[in-house]
């Protein structure tokens, strides 16, 4: 067993915002729907169900800050699907994440005379689940691939490639999430080119091989911070 404390949470990201320094609470809700298929022929006086479409989302809350407030306020009024990532443990390549693509459905700043001003953000996932971190929040300055993550087995049902491009001190940066059957030859699962801050969560289909990595293929500029993760669909 390796239980972890809430204080070890090392990352809370929505779109281009690193909310880690403003947040103190998070939760994720993943629901596996069961849809009823009971008929007159159902045996044993029991209702029958089959697996339906899964849903997911998350909630983050914390302390009010004008800069974070403006960005979140702007986001609630747009129709863009943005990336969302939570990292419950220390940031490291291969660390567990939750997140995916999401729409913010509620942003609630609040305050009272007796306490610190606060905020809360609800995100409805449009492709959501548990994944692995492939690039941590650290400054990148050149091209190159990260250490790989061994998922121990391939999977057949696709997944979500998640990028948060947090700083924009680059002219152009192209980076990819790649998979490999042998930790030697690599194929792009999803490749993105960034010229300004942005986030992308792309659903990919088909086979996902056992090994995953993050690879920067084009870099012109000074430095960039990109958080990248991949979520396999079971």
């Amino acid at each position: 067993m390796a239980f972890t404390h809430g204080s070890t949470t090392s990352g809370v990201y929505y779109h281009t915002q690193d909310l880690t320094a403003y947040a103190d609470t998070w939760s994720v809700d993943l629901t596996g729907n069961a849809d009823e298929v009971t008929t007159f022929a159902s045996a044993g006086n029991s209702r029958e169900f089959i697996r339906g479409i899964n849903t997911g989302g998350g909630t983050v809350s914390g302390y009010y800050d004008a800069a974070a407030d403006q960005a979140l306020f702007d986001s609630i009024s747009d129709s863009t699907v943005d990336a969302f990532t939570l990292i419950p443990d220390a940031q490291a390549i291969g660390a567990r994440t939750y997140g995916g693509a999401g729409l913010d459905t509620s942003f609630s700043p609040s305050g009272s005379v007796g306490g610190v001003n606060a905020w809360s953000l609800d995100v409805q996932g449009t492709g959501f689940g548990g994944g692995v971190l492939l690039n941590i929040e650290t400054a990148l300055t050149t091209t190159g691939g990260n250490a790989s993550v061994d998922s121990l087995a391939s999977s057949a049902n696709g997944g979500i490639a998640v990028f948060h491009f947090i700083t924009d001190d680059v002219t152009t940066m192209t980076c990819a999430i790649q998979d490999s059957p042998n930790d030697s030859t690599w194929a792009n699962l999803d490749e993105q080119t960034f010229t300004t801050v942005d986030s992308v969560a792309t659903i990919v289909t088909g086979t996902i091989d056992q090994y995953l990595r993050f690879n920067v293929t084009v870099f012109t500029g000074t430095s960039a911070v990109v958080l990248a993760s991949f979520i396999r669909f079971a």
Binding site: S184, T185, W186, A187, N188, E191, G206, T207, T217
Partner: protein
């Protein structure tokens, strides 16, 4: 189209297939297992030669 075991395929997508830290150039041929070929055909990275 399903891949075939031991067959050679041509890379058609720039920067999408790598051997270690080196990209394989468009037009290069690679020999792939059936399973790997099916995956890369699905992603549009290769085509049959």
């Amino acid at each position: 189209m399903a891949g075939k075991a031991g067959k050679k395929y041509k890379i058609v997508k720039d920067g999408a297939y790598w051997k270690g830290d080196e990209p394989v150039e468009v037009g290069a041929t690679v020999t792939l297992t059936k399973r790997e070929a099916e995956k890369l055909l699905h992603r549009g990275i290769i085509e049959e030669t």
